[in-house]
């Protein structure tokens, strides 16, 4: 077999338009082979930008999601340095350990159960929109609405008191910022684990009627595992859906023809949510796996230990998979995007996210039909140095 080419490419991250993936993906996706990529620590690995190869990689038994082998595809001080995941933090483990943990909570996140949460979500959405009304024109939609709704929903599901929520939100924010320094990260981690080490034992003594209470009564997890599970749910739910909610609003305001179409036919909402997930794919760094053994994949010899990163935003714009991939079309019926991943690690909270997005967009555009940005779209500051992409703020106004 031919030796793999010397990597010359690093992960593209610069975007010329906030609604499109980094420009550098387009020429890579047009190449015949998967891309040989250099990771910031100097190690050689691979980048996937096409849909078919992404699906294959994310279900391939020779590749692992275990934290100890993952290195960041972009420069950051936030590295795992070979540390395995904490007990209960199943997202960065493989089966069978992964599924043993995940199956304890999947029952809470089914299509049916998450739709049953709609009244709770509607209440939270409307309370935050009351705050928006009180804040008045000029308010920052991110601060008042989009970052608050998903965090309030998850806190309510696991029983985290409202008084702790904003602090936890800051910690999650810090840990998702690629420019975060080691001391900043350690402070955020210790803030989060400090809270959980008070909160989880207190709930173990007095389990409530919520998701965490059910896990405690199930009796299969010890204190450390319950803390790891709670941390996974908090970090998985907060800034993911928050940024998607904000990006969706920003995108619809900047694509008035699509927003008008949605207003005309509210039945389009479910499909609009799917199309916004595909089109925006806020997972800025995609999903990474590492080879458990020497393996031939997509015609290339991948060496044991090499990391492969799937550029999810690029994959969801693959012209071999979608007609007019760069066009936002809320009437599109061909979904099957990879915005929420693929394989056994596909997003646990995806149906909760769908419900929050649907309820959130409906209520916002219903109550604020004249909603608009106070500055031109190209002046909106973007989170281009975060694990999840989105606007840092969205100053909005409306007619009373």
């Amino acid at each position: 077999m031919v030796d793999a080419p010397h990597p010359t490419v690093s992960m593209p991250t610069q975007r010329s338009c906030p609604f499109d993936p980094p420009d550098g993906y387009t020429p890579l996706r047009a190449q015949e082979r998967i891309t040989r990529m250099s990771y910031p620590d100097g190690s050689p690995g691979w980048l996937i930008t096409r849909h078919a190869e992404a699906k294959e990689l994310l279900t391939h038994k020779s590749f692992s999601a275990r934290q100890e082998g993952i290195i960041s595809p972009v420069p950051t001080e936030l590295q795992y340095d070979g540390r395995p995941a904490d007990p209960g933090a199943f997202a960065k483990t493989d089966d069978p350990i992964h599924s043993q943990y995940r199956k304890l909570v999947t029952g809470f996140f089914t299509v049916r159960r998450t739709r049953q949460l709609a009244p709770m979500i509607e209440r939270i959405v409307h309370e935050q929109l009351d705050d928006l009304e009180k804040a008045g024109p000029g308010a920052d939609l991110v601060e008042v609405f989009t970052e608050s709704v998903p965090s309030r929903v998850m806190c309510e599901m696991i029983g985290v008191p409202e008084s702790e929520r904003k602090t936890l939100q800051r910690h999650v924010e810090t840990l998702g910022r690629l420019s975060c320094t080691v001391p900043e990260a350690l402070a955020a981690v210790s803030g989060m684990s400090g809270f959980l080490s008070r909160f989880v034992p207190a709930r173990m003594d007095d389990p409530r009627d919520d998701l965490l209470g059910d896990l405690i009564r199930g009796g299969q997890l010890n204190e450390q595992e319950l803390m790891g599970m709670a941390a996974t749910l908090i970090t998985g739910a907060f800034d993911t859906t928050g940024n998607m909610l904000a990006m969706g609003v920003f995108t619809l305001l900047e694509h008035p023809d699509q927003l008008a179409k949605l207003r005309e036919d509210p039945e389009l909402m479910a499909g609009a949510v799917e199309e916004l997930l595909r089109f925006l794919t806020i997972s800025h760094l995609g999903a990474s796996r590492w080879a458990l053994e020497d393996v031939e994949f997509a015609g290339q010899a991948i060496k044991k230990g090499e990391v492969v990163t799937v550029a999810l935003p690029a994959v969801n714009r693959d012209p071999e998979r979608y007609n007019n991939p760069d066009q936002l079309d809320i009437g599109r019926t061909d979904h099957g995007h990879l915005a929420l991943g693929h394989g056994v690690h596909q997003c646990l909270g995806q149906h909760l996210a769908r419900t929050i997005l649907r309820v959130g967009y409906e209520a916002l555009f219903d109550r604020f039909p004249t909603l608009r940005l106070t500055v031109p779209g190209d002046e909106i500051p973007m989170r281009d140095d975060f694990v999840h992409y989105g606007p840092r703020s969205l100053p909005v106004t409306w007619d009373d």
């Binding site: 029952g107 089914t110 299509v111």
Partner: protein, 68 residues
């Protein structure tokens, strides 16, 4: 046409219940696939192909009728 669903392979992502709620549900206990209708009308083939394609773990299979 006959559908099979492997609950051991299923990771409870719920794509099937999202796309075809009349044919698939998820268990309350762990969210794994529950087959509501194993032999649907042949007219549902396109929907079922989408379910198979979007199932993240390949837990759903279709056996098409011979000669159909």
């Amino acid at each position: 046409m006959r559908i099979t669903a492997d609950r051991e392979v299923c990771c409870a992502a719920g794509q099937c219940a999202l796309i075809a709620p009349d044919l698939f549900d998820q268990s309350d206990e762990d969210g794994s696939v529950v087959l509501l209708e194993a032999q649907p009308d042949a007219g549902r083939l396109d929907t079922l192909r989408e379910v198979v394609s979007r199932c993240p773990t390949g837990a759903i299979r279709i056996e098409e009728d011979p000669g159909a």
